[in-house]
């Protein structure tokens, strides 16, 4: 870890200002993934701009949306009454991620900004375009069981590992950010970037921009579920996960939102599966038929072809759970 200067802004404006003043500065809040990155030498910030204590940790009802403060802890996200009432999949996904020790420290913004968990990103001496742009990708053709089958490129196949992001993607959340040029809102669908030729650019955030909140449209009338399959029963990243929310009218599916984790380089929405089921009556046959459409666009690696049938099964599992009456 490189020695750094710790800067303590007294306001959000000051934080952005401090950040803009130093080329190699980073914000720090919960710090869980960030300290890990610093110990591994992958992040080497010259300055840490400490944004704790700036009032960004609140959860509030903003009418149409529930506003999740950027620094609300994951534990608060999991248990907040507004979240449970209006956007329950946020709680469901957060509870399936990490452990309470980590959720107590980790924040909303930190969760969706967490770096990928591709083994080759962490192991020293490997080629990784996210770690060292232009060096190549050892995951392709290697141990790729955990890697993505959607949204991949020839430069990177790393999965975006956040569970929370699956709920936010399904709910069509928006990320409010502030930067030197002012404030703007990023649709969650555009927040994470597929790797393309520049896998080191993981999000739509610009230099010095700070996340203020994630706004989630209320969806309390939808039944929701999150199903996560992993190599053990808790405390593991997803082999694959599916989050879904649905509303039935007169025994038919009137509204459906589905997104998958562990399969995409970005949180992976499943619009083709959703639209195939609108106005359909729930049945295992209908679910299976629609779930088969999830294969569209998949690029299979050496060891991760199993994710296609597993994804279909997880989709059917979630559809079954959210349409049970």
């Amino acid at each position: 870890m490189r020695p750094y200067q710790l800067l303590r802004p007294r306001s959000v404006e000051m934080a952005v200002e401090m950040m803009a003043a130093h080329l190699e500065a980073q914000y720090i809040a919960g710090g869980t993934n960030q300290i890990d990155m610093m110990k591994a030498g992958i992040h080497r910030p010259s300055h840490l701009v400490d944004i704790a204590g700036l009032g960004l940790d609140r959860i509030s009802d903003q009418g149409d949306v529930i506003r999740l403060g950027a620094l609300a802890s994951n534990t608060v996200l999991a248990t907040d009454p507004l979240v449970l009432e209006h956007v329950p999949m946020v709680s469901q996904t957060v509870l399936e991620g990490a452990t309470q020790q980590i959720r107590n420290a980790a924040t909303t913004a930190g969760n969706i900004l967490q770096r990928n968990r591709c083994p080759y990103f962490y192991v020293p001496g490997t080629r990784c375009n996210r770690k060292n742009p232009g060096s190549g990708c050892d995951a392709i053709g290697g141990f790729d069981r955990l890697n993505a089958i959607f949204g991949t490129s020839e430069s990177c196949i790393a999965v975006m590992p956040s569970d929370l992001a699956i709920a936010l993607r399904a709910y069509d959340a928006r990320v409010r950010v502030i930067g030197p040029d002012g404030m703007r809102t990023i649709p969650f669908a555009d927040f994470h970037r597929p790797p393309g030729d520049t896998p080191e650019v993981e999000t739509d955030l610009r230099k010095s921009e700070l996340i203020l909140s994630v706004d989630v449209p209320k969806a309390g009338r939808l039944a929701s579920a999150y199903h996560k399959i992993r190599e053990r029963r808790s405390y593991a990243f997803a082999l694959l996960s599916v989050g879904g929310a649905a509303r039935l009218t007169d025994g038919r599916i009137a509204e459906l939102r589905l997104a998958a984790g562990g399969v995409g380089t970005v949180p992976w929405r499943l619009p083709q599966v959703e639209s195939a089921l609108i106005d359909e009556a729930p049945s295992q046959e209908a679910f299976q038929r629609a779930a088969a459409l999830s294969r569209d666009g998949a690029v299979i690696g050496r060891q991760n072809a199993f994710k296609l049938p597993m994804l279909e099964r997880a989709i059917v599992r979630v559809l079954t759970d959210i349409t049970e009456t």
Binding site: R233, Y235, L239
Partner: protein
Amino acid sequence: MAIGLSIPRIDGPAKVTGTARYAADHYPEGLAQGYLVPATITRGRIAFIDTSAAEAVPAVVGILTHENMVSLNPLPLYVTPLDPMGASGQQVRLPMQDDRIEHDLEYVALVLAETYEAAQEAGGLIRVEYEPEDAVQFDYEDRAAHTKVETIFGALEGQYTRGDPDAAMAASAVRVEGTFDTPIMHHNPIELHATVAAWDDNRLDVREPTQWVLGIRNGLAQTFGLRAEDVRVRSEYVGVGFGGKGLLAPHTILAVAAARRFDRPVRLVITRALEFSAVGFRARTHTEAALGGTADGMIESITMEMLSETPVFQDVAFEPGVLAPRHMYGNVNMRANLALHACNVPAPVPMRAPGEASGMFVLESLLNDYAAEIGMDPVEVRRMNRAEVNPETGLPWSSNMLMECYDRGAAMFGWADYTPEAGSMTRDGKLIGWGMASATYPMIRTISAARVRAFPNGRVQVACAAHDIGTGMYTVCAQIAADTLGIDPSGVDVLLGDTDLPLAPAAVAAQSTASVGSAVQAAARNLRAELDLSGTGGSIGEAVRRTGRASVEAMAESRPGDEYTRVSMYAFGANFIEVEVDPITLWARPTRMVGVYAGGKVINPTTARSQLIGGVAFAIGMAMTEHTIRDPRNGRTANPDLGLYHMPVQADMPEMRFEFLEEKDPHVNPLGAKGLGELGGVGLQAAITDAMRHATGRHVRYLPYTPEALFPA
């Protein structure tokens, strides 16, 4: 009578309050902190190493590389962890002796600094250029590269045939066969390996979490050319080992060398990633196996050809899965051969039930497949093929209550409700599968000594160079001494884990209770003979005060006799497990298990039960979650951290019920104890995969299972 009581661990209060001091909790005055830098190739040579940037980091004390590392004396090729006085020799490949790299994460530099933070930063600034070479990788198809193992542990047959297995197989009415794979596993004790080393002239003082203080001492004395009595190794508390802290490893040697070279006490705690380097692992196995039998359940032939891996620089077979299957069932024709492929891997070491874990997975899977094939109850098949005597040696059993284990286990589990058809059992919308398997572990006893001392205040102290790695040895020693002296165990203090204490063996192979316990019992008996208890009402304190001495002590040495030549000594057990499978995703989880064991006298049922839970967790890990992955292209470890190497957590554990059968064994040792700590982790792997088959109809023959293995073809 203190033997057989479930008394709480006497080291408990220290452990639960954080006052128990493990090796890395020692911070000698003036110490320098160490940080190891690993190689990033699997095979080749170091062309160039530049430490200048690292040396420029403030607070760096010094850097050790192959360019300035002291030359070491070689260690013997053969490792004898069952001989307390034998020199340790895990790493025939001594660290940093030349510019060669023979396995992934081999250490290339050790940085010493005033602080850990500086050492870590400097370590990252060391620049190494390699000339990589193609690594030899495990390949079961490259038969020309495989070597037959002639002897295992220097004494047992690596190639074994009984009767005419091929003819019997060919003549069998029913035959099941398969290829079975078990994974590379790493011990991953939560306590990281660590060394705190300090020199005082030519005397060396080492703190090291180890299962074998004498082995570490002898190994260090030999490599550094010291007299053994000038080396003291202490290991009062060990954050568990499972075999992975038994043998002298390179980090220890490097810490000692750096302390010498830079004239500072050194505290070196290796990183979690380096737990995947040179501290040992369970070697993978690949086995072609078959079982032939009659249509009504009589096994006629079993064959297994097991291949495992060994490093290019050493010839070791620490996962000899071909041993346990030889004595389990009837007088069947059998072949059980072991071969090795020498690869660019670190040196494997024993790991919890070494050999039994993989071998019994294969054997018990064959039995379960056979039972399923002929539509018989798997318990009944095992009963029918009972071994009246040990079929390998022809010797009678010292005791064998395997049949009783089946009976009691089946009753406790509710096995009578088993319906054999796959997918026939459901509960709350889930598929339910049941599976069972036999377990076995040899009774091993080695030479051990102990000293028991009594003080005027009536307290008794037991001392020997044995170890408590979580096994309950402190408590067991107190119970045995208390039992012999007729006092309460709370009146006994126990000193362990110090080479200054009387000789004791390594805490491996579930032999500590039998070996050390027998020595403690003998020493306590000698002490009682020494003390005149007449008219004291049995008061030890009074008897000591009468002598007018500060203390009265007695020693004893205990060793096995010729019982090996007369009887065959094994512990046995039966494991039953239920697995629940989601009918849509086919993701499985174990829900409940029952284990019944016959392991002779149980000194402390509570600590014994805890050992068995640990064995169950290892079996679940091996069967369902744990797997060290090497990149198929270059052999580099792809998941060297606990975020991707998945050891079971709370949520993975089923409800468990255990029972120990009352078994009197007059042959094994004076205590009548066999050592049963490993039985929970033997065979259970096959019970789990058979439960999955029972739920889904799909056979799983590689471990750990993956959910897609249960998908319909």
